[in-house]
Assembly symmetry: C2
Homo-oligomer: 224 residues x 2
């Protein structure tokens, strides 16, 4: 079980990695890897519960976006022999830093550059991470996923910025607003008083509104 936990910190899409123990009898000593471990058949009701537990161990985030990414199994991925792993990916707001977690001394956020990360990864985690990034970018083209990268209240511009950071390109402000409003999954936060710090309207996710699918992908004119 491995979990690719994404957030956006300092305007960069980043993934949480942990350092493997440096004991030479463990595979890939000292390398970085996606946080994970074995399923605990006493504590974990099912696979998703196990992924949630791994996430809470590292970040103290309770209700992230969590999706099963896929499974990898072959006789090559672990030097000890045939092995299998279930991979999940999660989106959390910036607040949930690894420092806030429990046993997170060995954890660090790594910014995504291109299709992966600059450090070398253990096992087949480079491939798993690349699949996770592909899936994330692909779904951001036609779903509302990036709301889960923001705190509960946010401005329209901040939401747009999340889309742009994940996609790695700019999107049109006007078309973006039309798209988001007609999908009807966020609601404006009532303005408290006139003398507000921020001039921009705050929004929040509507209660019991899941991931929204837009009828079209983003598609700049020159694309095809």
């Amino acid at each position: 079980m491995d979990v690719a936990i994404f957030t956006v910190r300092q305007q960069q899409l980043s993934v949480l990695l942990v350092q493997r123990p440096n004991t030479p009898d463990e595979p890939f000593p000292g390398l970085w890897a996606l946080p994970g471990g074995f399923v605990d058949i006493d504590r974990d009701r099912d696979l998703e519960a196990c992924a949630l537990r791994k996430l809470r161990d590292k970040t103290a985030v309770t209700s992230p976006y969590l999706e099963q990414l896929g499974s990898w199994g072959s006789k090559d991925r672990d030097p000890r022999g045939w092995s299998t792993t279930h991979a999940y990916f999660a989106l959390i707001p910036d607040a949930g830093t690894p420092e806030a977690g429990a046993n997170a001394a060995d954890a660090a956020w790594n910014p995504i550059t291109g299709n992966g990360v600059t450090v070398k990864l253990a096992f087949d985690h480079r491939e798993i991470l690349e699949t996770a990034i592909d899936r994330l970018r692909s779904k951001v083209e036609y779903t509302s996923l990036p709301v889960y990268l923001l705190p509960t209240e946010f401005t329209m511009t901040e939401l747009q910025r999340m889309f742009e950071i994940v996609l790695g390109r700019e999107v049109e402000k006007s078309a973006f607003r039309t798209r988001v409003f007609s999908a009807d999954f966020i609601e404006p936060v009532p303005r408290m008083r006139e003398g507000q710090q921020r001039p921009a309207q705050l929004y929040r996710l509507q209660r019991s509104s899941g991931v929204v699918f837009f009828p079209r992908t983003f598609s700049p004119r020159g694309h095809r």
Copy 2:
């Protein structure tokens, strides 16, 4: 490892099921289930190779559409205790009947009605099958998946019929043709001679053309 193998027979979306042995020491004796079994770490390089082997055992189909569906693991799905399975789903043309396969005496095609099948299924296979059907219907809204339900040569009307059978509703002929042609993943088969049996133009999948994603989903006017 379980595989949901779909085809369209007699104008109905159908899934291949196998009957479990009737010995009382096996779980769910006599019930129907998705074809599957344990990974053979000597023969199977990886998970996909294992799924392909299961498919060939039952259908003698060599190059289907095959996609990883997900994994299910919990302490409830098997009465013998915590267990895990990897599920794949496959699309094959009608030609690959189970009778053509090797050890397929216990296999049968079951038509899909609504979200599942009429017979009772073993383990959590009802849930897995429902997930497979959901995924299939969802992807047919915006991809070219149904070509894999047809033989190598087919008419435009037959292709449209595949979309309609999977989706369970009719689609507009004219819009369908525009959509398919502009996606440019099939090519016309040169007409052999004038005195052809069929009046309709035959098409085939372009070589090395994978699954095509359309820029929009089907979306009848009254929808929202």
